[in-house]
């Protein structure tokens, strides 16, 4: 089965990419935009159909396998 992990910069952490994209979009006339943050999205296909097991495995990859950097990122697992 397939799982998605959304990895975003922590709120207190400066998001350099979001800052640049935001400025650029605003100067191109997208005036309703008030904030932009850019993170990563990782799609993982696992050879199991048990969604609880899959989720546990992905959590382990995140926390022990270094899939995300806890110092600067937060993650959210999405079942697709």
């Amino acid at each position: 089965m397939k799982l998605g992990v959304k990895i975003m910069p922590r709120e207190v952490i400066l998001d350099t990419q979001g800052r640049a994209v935001e400025a650029s979009m605003k100067s191109n006339g997208f005036n309703t935009l008030s904030e932009c943050r850019v993170g990563k999205y990782i799609e993982l296909t696992l050879s199991t159909e048990d969604s609880a097991a899959a989720k546990t495995e992905v959590e382990k990859m995140l926390k022990e396998g270094g899939l995300y950097n806890p110092l600067i990122e937060n993650f959210e697992i999405q079942l697709t």
Binding site: I13, L14, T16, R19, A23, P70, L71, I72
Partner: protein, 734 residues
């Protein structure tokens, strides 16, 4: 003295000692106010105040006509003549890089760049000095990869080429890596130097650059603390660097200086706004009124204390005359950067911090900057623990040694690191990481500015004094044989806990040795940085006084490369036996080498003489195709390093090397020169050039096509060697 619990915990939070608390009280004449605690904490930290090192750093006071006294400015300056000047400095970012290697090393590069362009110089060359633990130590590959990535992503994006560096690997850095970054900035004849001295009553204090966030709050005091097991589990507010903003800041700052819109300028480094404002006021002997509420914020919930201590990157503080404000703001706006007035300069020598209309504190900046505590930490006189009168050769087999060195990457050049660095942006680079010395072409005069870093941890381990002399002599020697005269030195003194006698003894021996070597070469130590407490769980790193040297060559044309380029040429050795040791061999046995020293030899004279060699040979119409200083591991290891492009060597020629193991003995200092000219003529010329210096000149072998021959008995498979040698650390996951 009995302290109540509350005070004790406060001292702990702010990392101040009881004595320092007493000093604070007596300077202020009262108990500190809440907002004053973080101020003292930050500015009295080891990192900002140099409290354990200041008394010794005065030993670097030697200057010559090329090196104006910069009175504590951000970087040292060298006058190159023809209206050209450079500013250069080196700085450590060890602790942040250990916590978060990508951001830690990136912000290290950003910080040193700001120290340079805050003076008005355009950064033109970067270098890095790295010490890692063993590749297989926990986290080490992650750290190595991250550091290389951080340095390259930041340096490449700002458009400053990284042209040289050094990478050391030793178990003593397993828990505390070193990341030192160096930058050189250029002033052309039409460029103005900016100072950090604030002046002019009613002039405006202007904040420029990125907005302030919670980055690295308490960062400066963190850098002065040893690691404990906790630091990995804490989620500190890592400082994030944005090289894109830095690039904008460089252009905007240089532009406003060019347009003469600035009175003084200072980057916000460690302890952010606190240190920059207090230092500018203290240096200029003036006062400031600053409203912290006006600071542009990323996070509107930040308190005055957060704002004062934030280490958000890519920010500067500058002073401008009111009439120039609008022009200045327009220039920053063009580069899409904030430029906000925080307050003004006042005659009364107080820094008055406001929060809107509320006065938070009013304090004489000298109390915090000039009157910071200074310690005379106990140390012992250097006693040369490993010096011997006669040196015995260890037993080993050459082919096994070479094999094990290849396995442990000791012989590998660190292509995997410097191939990630943009070495040529700026179109000034004449020689970069493929060589032991880098050269950039100076825009105005067309001369070559050389740059090299130094300090070999193995030699430091053997003897702190020799190691620190070597940290200056070796890179100066490497430059000299490429035809460049060393002009000035910067340093980054990475040491353990200064409260331990043995560490402080090594520190003092190092400072004195660097000062001595620099003076003898007439190359003043004009800037530097001290990083103490490189200690984790009681284990200290090897004392590592890294250095950076700049030099000058008349032109960038006809630079001679490091490596062999043609087969069947003479390999000639020019050697002075000042120090002999077995570091390279002993390292594989995890032993510290002994050494023998011939104190009668004049190393600085030899180095100075080498500078003219190239020109002299040219005069005599003699060509050379490669030249390289002999490193640790003697002629054996050095010839292996020079073997590229399918050219190897045959050292069986020199029968005087009865014991072939001697090929791997370290000899300070010698160089290998390769030439297609007639042997006898070359030897004669070289001997006459170096006469009276006690230097040996002899032919030791010839270059060969795809062969490596040490002796009749010892040959190394060239193909196999090449494969191993040029191999990236990819196999190890790098």
């Amino acid at each position: 003295m009995i302290l109540d619990e509350q005070l004790k915990s406060k001292l702990k939070t702010y990392r101040l000692s009881e004595e320092e608390y007493e000093l604070m009280k007596s300077l202020l004449g009262r108990d500190p106010k809440p907002v004053e605690w973080p101020l003292f904490s930050a500015l009295w930290s080891e990192h900002c105040s140099y409290k354990s090192s200041k008394v010794h750093l005065r030993k670097f006071s030697y200057r010559n006509e090329r090196t104006p006294d910069m009175d504590g400015e951000n970087a040292g300056v060298v006058d190159l003549g023809y209206g050209e000047k450079i500013a250069f400095k080196m700085e450590s970012h060890n602790h942040p890089s250990f916590i978060e290697p990508v951001q830690g090393s990136a912000t290290g590069v950003g910080g040193i760049l700001r120290d340079i362009f805050t003076m008005g110089a355009r950064p033109i060359m970067s270098a890095n000095y790295l010490c890692f633990g063993e590749v297989n130590a926990p986290q080490m590959k992650y750290l190595m990869n991250g550091v290389a990535k951080g340095i390259s992503s930041y340096g490449n994006c700002v458009g400053v080429p990284t042209v040289t560096g050094q990478t050391n690997i030793n178990a003593r850095y397993n828990k505390n890596i070193l990341v030192n970054a160096l930058n050189v900035g250029y002033f052309g004849p039409d460029m103005k130097m900016a100072l950090s001295k604030a002046k002019g009553e009613k002039n405006l204090v202007v904040y420029v650059g990125a907005k302030t966030g919670r980055d690295g709050v308490h960062g400066a005091s963190m850098a002065s603390e040893s690691f404990d097991e906790d630091s990995e589990s804490k989620r500190p507010n890592v400082q994030i660097g944005d090289p894109f903003f830095e690039k904008l800041l460089i252009e905007a700052c240089l532009e406003v200086l060019k347009k003469d819109l600035v009175v003084a300028m200072q980057d916000m480094g460690a302890a952010g706004l606190t240190s920059s404002s207090f230092e500018m006021a203290s240096k200029g002997q003036v006062g400031f009124v600053i409203d912290l509420k006006k600071v542009p914020l990323r996070d509107s919930t930040m308190t005055a204390e957060d704002i004062l201590l934030s280490e958000s990157q890519e920010r500067m503080l500058l002073i401008c005359e009111p009439k120039n404000l609008e022009k200045l703001q327009n220039e920053f706006k063009k580069w899409s950067l904030d430029a906000v007035v925080l307050g003004e300069v006042q005659k009364d020598r107080k820094v008055k911090l406001m929060w809107g209309v509320e006065i938070l504190t009013e304090i004489d900046p000298d109390l915090i900057v000039e009157k910071a505590p200074q310690y005379k930490r106990p140390y012992s006189k250097w006693a040369y623990p490993n010096r011997v009168d006669s040196l015995t050769s260890p037993k080993f087999e050459i082919s096994k040694l070479v094999d094990s060195k290849l396995q442990s990457f000791k012989l590998n050049q660190h292509h995997w690191i410097h191939n990630q660095y943009d070495q040529r942006v700026g179109a000034r680079t004449a020689m970069a990481c493929e060589s032991s010395v880098a050269f950039a072409r100076l825009d105005h005069s067309g001369r070559g500015l050389s740059l090299a870093v130094g300090c070999r941890p193995e030699v430091m381990l053997m003897d702190a004094e020799i190691g620190a002399l070597d940290a200056v002599y070796y890179p100066a020697f490497q430059m000299a044989i490429k035809g460049a005269e060393t002009l000035a030195v910067t340093d980054c003194l990475n040491f353990g806990n200064p409260q331990k006698n043995e560490i402080m003894s090594e520190f003092v021996a190092s400072v004195e040795a660097i000062a001595d070597a620099a003076k003898k070469l007439d190359a003043p130590v004009i800037s530097g940085n001290v990083s103490f407490y490189n200690e984790t769980l009681g284990e200290n790193i090897i004392s590592t006084p890294a250095t950076g040297l700049v030099g000058l060559r008349e032109t960038v044309e006809n630079l001679v490369p490091d490596s062999f380029s043609n087969a069947f040429e003479n390999i000639i050795l020019v050697q002075m036996n000042w120090v002999e040791s077995w570091n390279y061999v002993e390292q594989t046995n995890n032993r510290i080498s002994k050494f023998k020293q011939n104190a009668n030899l004049n190393v600085p004279a030899f180095i100075k003489k080498c500078v003219g060699l190239e020109g002299w040979l040219k005069q005599k119409d003699k060509k050379i195709s490669a030249i390289k200083a002999v490193g640790l591991g003697g002629i054996g290891a050095t010839c292996l390093k020079m073997s590229q492009n399918n050219i190897g060597f045959d050292l069986s020629y020199d029968l005087s090397l009865e014991d072939e193991a001697n090929m791997f003995k370290d000899v300070f200092y010698s160089f290998i020169v390769v030439t297609g000219e007639k042997t006898d003529e070359m030897l004669k010329l070289l001997k006459s050039y170096f006469s009276d210096l006690g230097v040996d000149v002899k032919k030791i072998g010839e270059t060969k096509n795809e062969e490596i021959i040490f002796s009749q008995n010892t040959k190394i498979d060239f193909k196999k060697f090449q494969k191993q040698f040029s191999k990236d650390l990819e196999a190890a996951g790098l």
